[in-house]
Amino acid sequence: MSLYPENFQIEIRLLIEAIYLKYNHDFRNYSPASLRRRVAYALQQFGCQTVSALQEKVLHDPDAFMRLLQILTIPVSEMFRDPTYFLALRQHVVPMLRTYPSLKVWIAGCSTGEEVYSMAILLHEEGLLERTILYATDINPQSLEKAERGIYSADSVRKFTQNYQKAGGKRAFSDYYTAAYNSAIMDKSLRQNVTFADHSLATDSVFSETHFVSCRNVLIYFDRALQDRAFGLFHESLCRRGFLGLGAKETVQFSAYAELFEPVVREDRIFRKK
């Protein structure tokens, strides 16, 4: 691949265009560097010599496309990733959320659900889960299925437990899952009020008014134009004075929506609609 970098570049564009035309999944405004890595990895996994060969495969075989989608969408997450984010939510956002009789929270780009269960546990401990509807959205249907099942490996749970404690957890993390066969099955009462839905920040529009949007480590894969589109959706969805939580290295500050949000906890990337 490194022998023909210019071909690789051209072929990736063609692949992305083909995926868009055929399956309506829009990766056209994704950051190129990371996409190149994912596609190079996909070539290995599919045993394809060229991106064109990969394109032919996925264009004619929807199952192959689903496999490729798993590779392109980076399903890597952990519960209570960046514990200080959740600590800051408890301290600075929850008191405001308490003032609403009913709540809607949108986890955008929820991947395999780690962020959803983290949020549900936090809301539960703050006495808010009963009156909250959580929307958990992603573009990857297999990730959504996994999120809905809520089964995680025992290995990952060790890390989740550490994070939970650092994030201001009020109980034992083991209260929230049942251990079985080297895995942890999350308590299904946590997802009682969760709606899992296929939704794309690149192609879909707003589906509900919300009080809080949490979208972390999703926007880093978007170019500026697509980031602006996503911020536009969040802004439209959020009620007046609604909250927006982002990943540790993401900010609304350099977007077209910079003036429409104000920081609440700058270091933990929590913003509020003006």
Binding site: S31, A33, R37, I220, K249
Partner: protein, 202 residues
């Protein structure tokens, strides 16, 4: 594939656009030798991945700001690379270079148990900058970085590895030498001199 004799630094023959440096165990000390050798008003951006325990806030930019004459900071996503600034990868993210001269971050799975990974940074530098990239691999106990350095070499860029005999931990630079990824194998002082010398090119 052969590597140049370790005694003489290669003469730079073309203009470079970026220096990428990877280091692991022993890296703080090694960088502490190399980075202060860069002159004030250095005209290249320098991008560093140093393996550190995850989940600790990185103080690298602060630590080195006292030792080097150049500005130091943690790289932000979409930030544009500026000449004469030393950037460090943020903890728990891969750091990549885009062809448009900006940074990208990623939470993809760790590579060689590392995130940030040197291979990821170097690979993206090879893709985005090709022959205008300079890659430098220093001390470490990891396999990370060797393949990335090879990618830079194959893309026509300049590649240096710290002399394994001198490195605090030789595994990482030795892996690069083994792979034929390094055009030159040099002690730290010569790496510093070479990087400082890139300055004088037209």
């Amino acid at each position: 594939m052969t590597t140049a004799a370790p005694t003489s630094a290669p003469r730079p023959a073309r203009r470079f656009a970026v220096v990428v440096i990877g280091a692991s165990a022993g890296g703080i000390e090694a960088l502490g030798t190399v980075l202060p050798m860069l002159p004030k008003h250095y005209t290249l951006p320098v991008v560093v991945v140093l393996h550190l325990p995850a989940d600790e806030p990185s103080l690298l930019a602060e630590v080195f700001s006292y030792k080097v004459g150049l500005a130091t900071k943690e790289a932000d996503e979409k930030e544009r690379l500026q000449p004469g600034v030393i950037y460090f990868a943020p903890p728990s993210y891969h750091l990549l270079l885009e062809a448009d001269g900006t940074f990208a971050l990623s939470t993809e799975e760790p590579v060689h148990f590392s995130r940030p990974s040197i291979d990821v940074l170097f690979g993206s530098a090879a893709d985005a900058y090709g022959e205008r990239a300079v890659g430098v691999l220093l001390t470490g106990a990891s396999q990370d970085g060797a393949r990335g350095l090879l990618a830079i070499r194959e893309a026509g860029g300049q590649t240096l590895a710290q002399d394994p005999a001198e490195a605090m931990i030789s595994i990482m630079p030795a892996a690069a030498v083994e792979l034929g990824a390094a055009r030159a194998v040099l002690p730290l002082k010569d790496i510093g001199r070479f990087l400082a010398g890139l300055e004088k090119e037209a």
